[in-house]
Structure formats: structure tokens, C-alpha cells
Amino acid sequence: MDVSTAPEPKARLPFLARMLRLPHARGAGRREGMVENRPFLTVLTHAVLLLGVAVIAFPVYVTFVASTITAEEVLAAPMPLVPGPHLIENYREALLHGAGNSAAPVWRMMANSMISALVIAIGKIVISLLSAFAIVYFRFPFRMFFFWMIFVTLMLPVEVRILPTYKVVSDLNMLDSYTGLTLPLIASATATFLFRQFFLTIPDELAEAARIDGAGPMRFFWDVVVPMSKTSMAALFVIQFIYGWNQYLWPLIVTTQEDYYTVVIGIKRMIAGGGEASVEWHLVMATAIMAMLPPALVVILMQRWFVKGLVDTEK
């Protein structure tokens, strides 16, 4: 897509604003001598927006508040709604010693999550780039068969193939290891398919020009295909990092040692078992807040690239 033809978010805003009849979009009406003022609509639209934000943000806020007070205060009814003074102490406790049934410290679980998410995201990108490159640029026997094999697995969620996958991983002695945590999740039909679609939009002449320039297939891959896919890779990284970070079912069944727990499993373990009163909610909440941070940071830091990767293919 050419940069100039890409819909610019800014250009769309006035249209959106006009639809919502926001005050600054009424220039056209004013020129025609029409005095249009509908404060009611303005108030209503803002109220809806604020309500939406509140519905989504309030639970996060409650979690944050709960992570700054003591265990007794969390269980008090009603629970206080202003942050308390125990922020640093709760977070240090959770980070260094963990909570509840899970004795593993949270820093360890965060590290596990980070390793799995990174390996899954990067692994998926590398594997999908290579397999899409093979499918698009090479003519080998059963090429379309392999493509459809990959495509068909799109229709199967992890949960469907979890038992056979578990059997394979356990037979290969990969339970309780980073390999076991990440490898089965790396194969990705979605990413392969996305890269394939992107590669198909790269004109054939580019590959031919590279051939005449003397670039072999891998040289073409590194010097032309990979740089051109940068934005798509960034978008996929964000999506796959979050996917990897949020994995629950798979880490739950392949890990039995606390050393390999991811933070998502850790939170579950902290509240599992024991009665309502024995759960150290303030530490659980602190862990939850910490578990939310890395995906949020990845999105915030990579937002510009992410959006570019979805709207613009730099061609």
C-alpha cells in the first residue's frame, strides 16, 4: 500500500467527529449560517465513553488498591477504595517470596513468563517467516499440500490438540522445561498465513531483479524480504507476545515444578486450595498488577510499529 493512499487516522477523525456532532466539527454548518448546538448529544456521548472506560478500568483500579493494603483490609467489607501505604512492602514480599500455596517467588515466575513469551513470539516469527518464504518462493513437490496442511491447523485451537501434544512432549522428556513450555506453541499457522499473504503482494520482479543482481535465495530473504516485513513482524510480535504471556492451559499441564511456573499459573496457584481467609489477597493482587505490566508495556512501546504494520506495508 502506498503511504499516500493509506487512510490516515487523522483524516478520519473529522468525519467521526461530524457523525458524533462534536462541537469542533461544525465548521461547515456555521459557514452556511446555521447555528447548531446540541450540548445534550455532546454530554451523552461523553457520558457513554466515560462509562465504558469506567467499566474497564475500575476492576484494574480495585486490583491496584488491593495490592497496596494489608490482607485484613482486603477482606474487610466494604474494601477501601483509596490506595493504602503498603505498596512497596507488598510488592517486595510477592516478588521475593511469593504467596499462598505457591512458594515460588514472583520474580521467578515473571522471568519464566518473559522467557516463554519471548521465545514463543520470536520463534513463531522466525519459523513463519521461513515457512512462508518457502511456500511463496520455491517450487517443490506437494507445495500446495503443505500449505493446506498448515492452513488446516488454523482451524484447530490449542485445546483440541492438547492431549496428543502432551503425549509427544512427555515422550520426548520435555515436561518441566522451557523447551516443553514453548516449542509446541511456536508452530503458527496464523503467522505463516499472514506472512504468505504479505509475500504474495511483493512483486515478482523484485525477486527477479535480485536474481539478476546476483543475490541467492537466502541473500534475497535477508536483504529484501526481511527488511520489507519489518512492520508486519512488529505487529505479529505484539500479538504473539501477549498470546505467549497469557498462555494458561498449556503451562498448567506441562509444568509440575514451581521453578517453571509462569506468572499466570502462579496467580492461579496462589488462590487455589485453602479457604477464602487463607488467601493472601493483597499479594495476589500485587502479582496480578505485575503480570499485567509487561504486555501493556509491549503494546505501548511498540504501538507505532504495530499500527504501521497493520495499515502500511512499506512498499
Binding site: L206, E208, G214, R219
Partner: protein
């Protein structure tokens, strides 16, 4: 620089043969244009010279070496593509330098060559830009720059000007000619535009349906077309064709009435032929001397000339008239031509009858 030879070159995709044996010799330093309608196999032929398509039968030689089995990079050619095929993420400089870097050339030499090519093509101020920041004409020049820096034996151009607007096309045509005079590199240039072919070519290969119908200089092809196809393809507006039958010495009776005098050899009486006369050779004549008469259907004023469409039975002919001398639509026009400018073609095969 080198000569290029095509010897009995054929190309098939499975059972479908698309090029039916082309023989051509391109002399060292010559500028050859391969011209033909779309689907005639001209691009395929060029891509076979480039090494992007395999050669089914026959041989292609660059210099003295047969290159059938060589990879494109080992053929010492450079190609300019219709859509430029610039690497979008590389600067103009890197686009030109890429091929040289792969060849492991020293930085200083690459720099020298790129700067020199940029000088020739006036790309100096644009070297740091990305292709998307350039206009169509500039991109085209970068694509040519990428070919020049390689200092190849042969330049291959695959319809390089068809993505440009009419004015820019004329300008780039001029620049390509200038470049060829300056560098003197053997060039093969593919186009479907007969004007481009006429103006650029030292010699041209007119292709139709996978065959080279005629090879010759533009004026040879224009003045002495080998087949009805070539006669109709080269020249704008294209030649008028009127079906008729031999009617004694030097005479053809047209199907829709009228007698055409020609200077070609003996045509058996009753033999079906096609008479070809270029619009610029048709003249308005006295009814007594005219080949035929027709009704003026349409007038197209082009400024310098006027094209008069004359209906004659089911046929329609175009007469090119100087500006200001056009008849009224609906009036009757009597036309004739110099017998020496009348071409005859066999009605069945389209071959020229001389």
C-alpha cells in the same frame, strides 16, 4: 559490450508452445527493439535472454558464449523492469550499489560507479532518498542507474516506459537514446508501442503470435513490410486494408467496387488479395482517376493533420489530410494513390505479394 545471437529459440509451457523459433542477430552496440501486440511472446523472449525463463529449444549466445545454462547473474546482463522493481526499503544509492556489493566489489569502486551513473542520470541530489519519495520518471532513472553501474555487456529493457505519462515517456525516450549514444552498450528493448519502437530502434524485431515476422530498420519495416500483420502494426494510424481480386495486369478489383492500380508483380485474375494503402498515401482525386469513392463518416482533427474516415461498402479507410482541407461529413470522397505505394498481401496467409 557484445553481440547477442538467438538461434532457433523456442519456448513451451507444457504442451503449449508460445515462441515458435526465433532467429536473430544483434550486432555489438546495437539498439534493437522487439515490438508486438500483447501476448506475442516478446517479453518471454527477453526474459529468456535474461535467464529468467528457461529455453526449451535453441540457443542464446551473448558474446561468443552460449548462455542457455547460465544463471542470470553470470550472463553479464542488466535488466530494467516495467514496474522498476526497486528495493523499496533501500535508498537510491543502495539500490544501485546492491548488485555490486554482492559481487564483492570494493567500497571505493562501488562509490565511483554509483556516483558516475548518478551523474549521467542526474540523480545526484536523490541518492539518499527512498524509492517511494521519487516520482515515476525518477524511479525509472534509478532503475536505469542500477543497470548502468553494472557495466554489463547487454541492457535489457522490458517495457520500461509504459508506466509513465505521455509527456514523460517522450522525455525518457530521448534520455534512453542519449544514454545509448553515450555508453554504446548492446541493448534489447521490448515494447508494445510502435512509436517507441520506430523512434528508438536501430533495428526492430516485429513479433506476432510467437514468431518474428520481420527484422529490419524502422524505415525498412515501414516502407517494405513483409506481412500484412507488420504493415498494419507499424504506422499510425494503421494501414488501410481492402479486400479485392486480381483483375488483369497491375489492377485489383475491390470487393466493394473500384479498381486499384498497383506496381507489384503479376497477380492472377480472380486471386483473392488484400490491398494495403497507408492513410498518408491516399490522396483525393478526380472521380475519373479515383481508385474508389466512399462516404465521409467521421473527421478527426489532430491539429497538424486531419484524419478522414471514409466508408466504402463494408470497409472503412482513413485518409490523412493536411490541416484545413477536410471534406464535410456525409459527402462523397474520391481517393487514389501512387501505384508504387500500394501493397498487396495474400488474403489467406497475409504474406506480401511483390
Amino acid at each position: 559490450m557484445a553481440k547477442v545471437e538467438l538461434r532457433g529459440v523456442r519456448k513451451s509451457y507444457g504442451p503449449l508452445e508460445v515462441i515458435h523459433g526465433v532467429d536473430a542477430r544483434v550486432a555489438d552496440g546495437e539498439f534493437i527493439v522487439i515490438v508486438g501486440p500483447s501476448g506475442c511472446g516478446k517479453s518471454t523472449l527477453l526474459r529468456m535472454v535474461a535467464g529468467l525463463e528457461t529455453i526449451t529449444v535453441g540457443e542464446i549466445a551473448i558474446g561468443d558464449a552460449v548462455v542457455n545454462e547460465r544463471e542470470p547473474k553470470d550472463r553479464d546482463i542488466a535488466m530494467v523492469f516495467q514496474n522498476y522493481a526497486l528495493y523499496p526499503h533501500m535508498s537510491v544509492y543502495d539500490n544501485m550499489a546492491y548488485g555490486l556489493r554482492i559481487r564483492g566489489m570494493s567500497k571505493a569502486e562501488i562509490d565511483g560507479r554509483v556516483k558516475k551513473a548518478a551523474g549521467i542520470l542526474e540523480l545526484g541530489p536523490l541518492l539518499e532518498r527512498k524509492p517511494r519519495q521519487l516520482s515515476g520518471g525518477q524511479r525509472q532513472r534509478v532503475a536505469m542507474g542500477r543497470a548502468i553501474v553494472r557495466e554489463p555487456k547487454v541492457f535489457l529493457f522490458d517495457e520500461p516506459l509504459s508506466n509513465l505519462d505521455a509527456k514523460l515517456r517522450v522525455q525518457m525516450r530521448f534520455e534512453i537514446q542519449k544514454l545509448h549514444r553515450q555508453l554504446g552498450t548492446t541493448s534489447l528493448y521490448v515494447t508494445h508501442d510502435q512509436v517507441e519502437a520506430m523512434t528508438l530502434a536501430q533495428r526492430m524485431i516485429v513479433m506476432n503470435a510467437g514468431r518474428a515476422e520481420q527484422i529490419g530498420t524502422p524505415m525498412e519495416v515501414y516502407e517494405d513490410p513483409a506481412t500484412q500483420f507488420v504493415a498494419g502494426f507499424i504506422g499510425s494510424p494503421s494501414m488501410n486494408f481492402l479486400p479485392g481480386k486480381g483483375a488483369g495486369a497491375g489492377k485489383i478489383a475491390l470487393e466493394h467496387g473500384g479498381i486499384v492500380h498497383h506496381a507489384a508483380g503479376q497477380v492472377d485474375t480472380g486471386r483473392s488479395v488484400v490491398v494495403g494503402i497507408r492513410p498518408e498515401h491516399l490522396v483525393v482525386a478526380d472521380p475519373a482517376d479515383a481508385f474508389f469513392a466512399g462516404t465521409v463518416e467521421l473527421i478527426e482533427q489532430l491539429g497538424a493533420d486531419t484524419l478522414v474516415h471514409v466508408a466504402h461498402g463494408a470497409d472503412s479507410s482513413i485518409v490523412r489530410r493536411p490541416h484545413g482541407l477536410q471534406p464535410e461529413p456525409g459527402s462523397t470522397l474520391h481517393v487514389s494513390a501512387d501505384p508504387s505505394s500500394v501493397f498487396l498481401f495474400d488474403a489467406a496467409s497475409g504474406a506480401r505479394l511483390r
